[in-house]
Symmetry: C3
Subunit: 139 residues, 3 copies
């Protein structure tokens, strides 16, 4: 069973869509299986992270901003792919450092997430974007 | 077919559990399939790495310690999520840089690992922890 | 259904094999399913990245070279696993920072890749190598 999540982002950061994924699993009536997510872009990525304290998300985003600064930062003068904006090549690098696909078991009809785990689209571009995440659920 | 591996860690580092996973696959009688592991925490992660020279694991751990120092290191003063200890937010970041899920094919009844590959829980917290890894095996 | 892709690399960099994977999926006659790739080595890795501008691949490789320099770089003097050459331990670290396995949904008989996505073996060693990527396709 497959579906596509169409997510609107409005700048860099972690965009949670756990509820949408849970609803898809619930409606499937699958009791035991595997849910796989795949993001169809190379300048955003997928992340399972803590959904309790929003400071965790802010710190995560800030770490990646410091590790991979914008192309207009003097430390990144060596970048050559700069024609799509100062946030584009760093976005590709941040995507390479995180995940394009994720798999989460389904147990007793529910995603086997840990207590504090949420599912996020990690947007690395600064502008507003429409992002597609393909979900595949195997029974 | 699913199971849960309950792993006890006693500080940061790579904790191998290849044998436990192999045994689960062997007992399943699955000849050709896919084994997926998912860790239910956000301050440890999964890694497939060389299981020959222990220096490789030490160097890996040391690289991540230098890339993401403790919150009490002057270089990390910008972190805001510090109330769960100096090793907590760095642990979330290291988890984001590695993997929450892994999939390994099963061929001829055995995990299709390369000659030198082992499966590790990568613990990023300093204290002792009990960690849960959910395994899903599809035939 | 499983197969093994045998890839020859001739130095560090991104080696595309999207066409080989597409052909395997096409020949399978699977209409809806999940394709999983697993690399049987710990000094190269898998990456889905932009396949349009080759500058993106060059910049990606250069970022990782700067983040994890060779063992003979003064900044890496702390490394202990150096007996397999100055590019070996950095290769393990770069592999840990990227992916050992990837899953891509198959929809209407085709890999559900985004418009600009290609599948790459990310070789981290400097010499020529023969690399094995195991593919598992579930209907």
């Amino acid at each position: 069973m497959q579906t596509v999540f169409n997510l609107r982002t409005s700048g860099a950061g972690l965009h949670e869509f756990t509820d949408e994924v849970m609803q898809f699993v619930r409606q499937s009536d699958v009791r035991e299986g595997l849910l796989t997510l795949f993001v169809q872009h190379t300048s955003c990525s997928l992340l399972v992270q803590e959904n309790a304290d929003p400071d965790v998300r802010r710190d995560l985003q800030e770490f990646f901003r410091r590790l991979v600064p914008s192309s207009d930062d003097p430390a990144m003068r060596w970048l050559t792919h700069t024609n799509e904006g100062p946030d584009d090549m760093p976005a590709h690098i941040k995507a390479a450092l995180t995940a394009v696909s994720l798999s989460i078991p389904v147990t007793d009809g529910r995603l086997a997430l840990g207590t504090w785990q949420g599912i996020y689209l990690f947007e690395h571009r600064h502008g507003a974007h429409s992002r597609r995440v393909v979900a595949h659920l195997a029974a």
